[in-house]
């Protein structure tokens, strides 16, 4: 039986803020957000399979202000999870574990996700205005 009175390790609030904390927390948070976002993919495919009326309704919903805000959030979540996921795969292969590299790759994930989001939305807006 484990000793329930054993000392606990200090929790989040005791540590000085570091970028690696944020990238780690964000990876989980965006992962959960993207899991919910699978419903959008499901909805889009079902509406397309359902015929022209349901597909047009899907387009109206995703093109509404609320739809665009959600799409912006989900697109950033996707690109962040993608960039940081590649960073994790590289680290799982055993590379990039020195602390300066770790900090640099953390910032690279954040910056890369923002750049990709801006590029995609710039393309989307130039290709014919907000849906």
């Amino acid at each position: 039986m484990a000793d329930m009175q054993r000392p606990l390790s200090p929790h989040l609030q005791i540590y000085k803020w570091q970028v690696q904390m944020m990238t780690s927390i964000l990876h989980r948070a965006t992962g959960v957000a993207l899991a919910v976002g699978t419903l959008l993919v499901l909805w889009g495919l079902l509406s397309l399979a359902g015929g022209e009326a349901s597909f047009n309704q899907f387009k109206v919903c995703t093109g509404s202000p609320l739809g665009l805000v959600l799409l912006l959030g989900w697109s950033w979540a996707l690109f962040y999870h993608l960039c940081n996921g590649i960073r994790h795969l590289i680290q799982d292969a055993g590379a990039g574990y020195a602390i300066p590299q770790f900090v640099r790759s953390s910032w690279l994930s954040v910056a890369g996700s923002i750049v990709l989001t801006v590029l995609v939305w710039a393309y989307a807006l130039m290709a014919g205005g907000a849906a």
């Binding site: 989980r28 992962g31 959960v32 993207l34 899991a35 699978t38 419903l39 993919v41 499901l42 495919l45 079902l46 397309l48 399979a49 015929g51 022209e52 597909f55 047009n56 996707l78 993608l82 996921g85 590649i86 994790h88 795969l89 799982d92 995609v120 393309y123 989307a124 290709a127 014919g128 849906a131």
Partner: protein, 134 residues
């Protein structure tokens, strides 16, 4: 003395009482599958984003025809299956970490699997219907 007697009487390894809890059931299976689906999703995800960008503002007929193309239908099915699989593996870790009431944890773990299977099957059915409808 009595402690030594106890040790002598019970010849079973104390590990036996661990009842296969923890990671001893499937080893690195979960971890490895999460990485393999992640690697697949890097490629499939980028393809999906590019495809969606090409179909921005597309009308029904254009979108329908694009999804119906064999390569697109194939990759789309691969994408949704991998997506739901990876989502379940990730949500499972989050639930195991943060839900500390055992029955709630088990209910959630089963619920996300049910939902993911239903979601994946519905997506596949939708793609097949689009691809096989002239």
């Amino acid at each position: 003395m009595s402690a030594k007697d106890t040790v002598m009487k019970d010849r079973r390894n104390p590990l036996k009482t661990a009842l296969g809890l923890g990671s001893s059931q499937s080893g690195v299976g979960h971890w490895w599958t999460q990485r393999v689906t992640a690697a697949a999703l890097v490629l499939l995800g980028l393809w999906f984003v590019a495809t969606v960008l090409c179909l921005l503002h597309a009308d029904y007929a254009t979108a329908h025809a694009a999804v119906a193309k064999p390569w697109n239908a194939l990759l789309l099915i691969a994408f949704v299956l991998t997506m739901f699989w990876h989502a379940v593996l990730g949500l499972q870790v989050v639930i195991e970490d943060y839900v500390h009431t055992r029955w709630k944890e088990v209910v959630l773990l089963v619920a996300i699997k049910f939902l993911a299977v239903l979601g994946a099957l519905a997506c596949v059915l939708a793609v097949l219907r689009i691809a096989l409808t002239p």
